[in-house]
Symmetry: C2
């Protein structure tokens, strides 16, 4: 059965009203703003009240370096929460908000899968409560105000060639990657080269996800560097005088969204920045709310642990004021074999040697997380076709490292398939090692990069292209060098070469540019090329999607 | 006091929950989908049930040719509904949905004004229930799919120079009027000239507003002509194979939105197409729902009666299956004087001669509406500074035509200021003259245009530019000539010259192009230039807007 079929069938039979879900975690109907019967935002006054509460334990779900298909972090996170929910624990899940763009491209939703799904699935993957659209609207309004500033005399002396703020759409649209705007004569703008990103790649998404509340959001928006002048001085939103207007457009988007799993476990879905050019995890507001509402809050970070978990720990945790109490590393047999050198088409075939070789990748992620002082549990996201001998081998290899590896059949069985995992995680939560940050804020930028490259990636050194060297100067000159770094790198390798699988060593990381994101509060260290506007494939998923006159959707996932 | 202050103060004190407003018109909580406590969509099943109900009377609010400030159609419509509501009549209002773009440009909301406002005002003018964003998303997804079709081999032989489907944003952004897309090499699309419209100018907005339900919406979307081939054959959405995907994105946007006036009168706000290149009135679904829920449904049509009312009667009414039972023509003393030749800066000065001269404009609109068989009432939208002698003169001049003209002080007094108007309208509703359509569908396109130009505008003849002549051939060759026409013309004059005020005669209308909108089901007859992407002014409203950490908005209107 397809995910959409499971979701629709189960939604119809079992979904609870969102007021009931809210009630289960102690929220009154007046604490939520309903968006239809099954979605809600949590009100500002409820959020303020919840900030006074003691926080629960925090579980971070991350993964090994994935295959192109992804290894099911969200599915495992959902199943783990459901398993805890079944055991009567007060578990609340916090997940990223899906982007609509990919929905029309490749099949595959971002709300878990099988019987470990968040519902209403189609709504969450389409317009949800409008957060992405509000972001798109705010980003493009700001862009229009910048171009209008050029049009109306350019009092701020903005260099049109050095505008940093790009327009966005929540759509996979490669034809918008490189455009020229302002054509058509003097009444239609100042001509310049420009480009569109996908909405989730915008700095404003990262800003929304790191803001503590509306006031902090406004301060961060004010600081965003939108351009440089002809004299190379940074121009901010505040200087343009539109901080209030842009913040106003996000007044509802800052409130986290409450939904449920197929097993009625409460889920906060809020914010979804890229895990390469941004920090790749849901909003600080949502995680904080999950910590206040649950005894255990479960959250995830994008891509493998080298990207997602590192950024969670070094960028998000300091803002959150809370570090994880345990980490779950999701692995699949196919990803282990892929990291062990097996071609995509052969991943279904049993291959113990490849598992053994590929385990080096998982092992490095485990050690990296332990370096921060985190207790680690490995979740083997199980497929019906998995070879039990391979699974056993992974468990043995993990046991050699003193780490428990637990198969989870949550896709097929929902929470019932995650009970053993839940027990292992609960046990891990009782450990009490203190958190050890990777680098201090005041460390010079190059040293921070070196620290991540050596300490997390296992590489040797870092090379800076001329553009990156110039960027470093700008960063120092403006006093931005105390910000944490956010390395944009391929998700497929510890290195910046997507083909270098497993656990490579002695490699060099090539930094092409360093982009200050002053509103978000981090420096994006670019390695290789990161596509910030995806394209559609030859046969887009849009061609398979249908809806009948009664509103029944088919072919969505 | 500013509109936003009146709205926020009164909202805080008096707004009812949307479930209570729904309850007052016989809708159960399960008949609506809440979007926060004060906004809701009506469910598909409730809409289906309501379609079986007998329909109330329909009042169309229209206007004389306006000044650039607008004459307060929405304000009068709100006040009229409130006055009827006060009298205990079951009145339901149906209005257009505001566009977010202008909010950042010029001050002025689209939800009435003063004490005749629809609330929650800021929400309705910002993201509301996401309809505009869903449209933006659907339009741009379709555009991305078209460009992707070019990229992936162009099996349909689409001529990239003849793509009709433009991208949109709900933003005033002149720099996007003329752009080139697809730059950056072979992996980033096929380079071509393109441009963005504002969302409300897209054919898809007109399609949404004319669709009877989700099934009809899907059929209309399938028919939309997105491009022509190298052989000049039309290419439709259906041929691209993405009808289902685009329709799915509008599954919630098709449901009308329920809100309330400051006096708790129920209001359906849904859809807002341009009144020049489209038909300028709220959705068929909303009007039909208002007719089912109320004994009297009050609705409005954009710009002056030459544009809005004509299109309501000739384009929307045949789809709606219902014609108005009375028309209210909104006039102001300033608009009458403006049409009488007074300069904008002198409109505050009393000038009975100018009123007398400008009355010719109002008189022609009255006769036009009477020609359709509609009883007419004139509403004089009153300002505190109005000269009573001028008001009396307008009433006398109307009385000479056998028409009642009633001053309405609804901006200052809410429903209490519209009681006399409500009585005049109620009286007009008892008339029983049958509706007389202006032209039969099968009339040739040129004759339809001639009929509107002579019969409504009072002009003499029509000139076709070469492009329009070629378009006529395409229209005939494809069998599209039975569609109604939708003339895009300046709102300031009966002619196509915005400076020709009053009631000009003997003029020629210059048709520059005729654009078939096959999904919407009309032919847009272009006269003069119509800007489908507005720009921002030198001092945008965005610079005056602010929001504090508690979410309190200032400077919005």
């Amino acid at each position: 059965m397809e995910d959409i079929e499971i979701a629709q069938e189960n939604e119809a039979n079992k979904i609870q009203t969102i007021t009931a879900v809210a009630g289960d975690i102690g929220l009154d109907p007046t604490d939520i703003e309903q968006y239809g019967p099954y979605k809600a935002k949590i009100t500002t006054s409820a959020l303020e009240r919840l900030r006074q509460r003691p926080q629960g334990k925090l579980v971070l779900v991350t993964a090994i370096n994935p295959t192109p298909a992804g290894e099911g972090k969200s599915t495992v996170a959902v199943g783990l929460a459901d398993a805890m929910h079944r055991k009567g624990q007060k578990a609340v899940l916090a997940l990223r908000e899906p982007s609509l763009g990919p929905v029309m491209g490749m099949k595959g939703g971002a709300t878990g899968g099988g019987y470990a799904q968040v519902v209403p699935m189609a709504d969450i993957n389409l317009h949800f409560t409008g957060d992405m659209h509000a972001l798109t609207s705010a980003v493009n309004t700001l862009a229009a105000l910048i171009d209008n500033h050029l049009q109306q005399g350019n009092a701020l002396h903005i260099d049109p060639r050095r505008i940093q703020w790009k327009r966005v759409l929540d759509i996979n649209d490669r034809a918008l990657r490189h455009v020229t705007v302002g054509l058509g004569g003097p009444t239609s703008g100042v001509p310049r080269e420009d480009g569109f990103d996908i909405t989730v790649a915008s700095e404003l998404m990262a800003v929304l996800c790191l803001a503590e509340d509306l006031g902090d959001l406004k301060e961060r928006i004010a600081r965003i560097v939108i351009a440089y002048t002809y004299g190379r001085e940074p121009v901010t939103v505040e200087m343009l005088g539109v901080t209030g207007a842009i913040t106003m457009l996000l007044k509802d988007a800052i409130k986290p969204n409450l939904v449920q799993t197929l097993e009625h476990t409460p889920v906060l879905i809020h914010g979804g920045p890229f895990a390469n050019i941004a920090h790749g995890c849901n909003s600080v507001v949502a995680t904080r709310t999950a910590l206040a509402l649950g005894d255990i809050a479960i959250t995830e970070a994008g891509f493998g642990a080298d990207l997602g978990a590192e950024k969670f720990l070094d960028i998000k945790a300091p803002v959150l004021g809370k570090t994880p109490d345990a980490a779950v590393v999701v692995a699949t047999l196919r990803a282990l074999k892929y990291n062990g050198g097996v071609a995509l088409k052969d991943l279904q075939t049993s291959n113990l040697d490849a598992i053994r070789t590929g385990f080096a990748n998982l092992e490095r992620h485990i050690h990296n997380l332990q370096r921060y002082g985190l207790p680690v549990v490995v979740a083997i996201n199980a497929f019906a076709t998995d070879d039990p001998a391979e699974t056993q081998l992974v468990q043995d290899l993990c046991a050699d490292q003193g780490v428990k590896a637990v198969p989870a059949t949550v896709w097929a069985d929902g929470g019932a398939g995650g009970v053993e995992l839940a027990e292992a995680v609960t046990e891990a939560l009782s450990a009490t090692e203190p958190f050890k940050p990777l680098y201090p804020q005041e460390m010079p930028v190059e040293d921070k990069i070196q620290t991540v490259v050596q300490g997390i990636y296992g590489g040797r050194d870092v090379e800076y292209a001329r553009k990156a060297q110039l960027a470093l100067k700008t960063i120092k000159a403006n006093g931005w060098d105390r910000l944490p770094i956010c390395i944009a790198k391929t998700q497929y390798s510890f290195s910046d070469d997507p083909k270098l699988l497993g656990a490579p060593t002695d490699f060099t990381i090539h930094v092409s540019d360093i982009i200050p994101k002053i509103g978000a509060g981090f420096l994006v260290v670019m390695t290789g090329t990161v596509l910030t506007m995806p394209g559609l494939p030859k046969h887009p998923a849009a061609n398979d999607i249908d809806i009948d006159a009664q509103g029944h959707i088919t072919g969505l996932f």
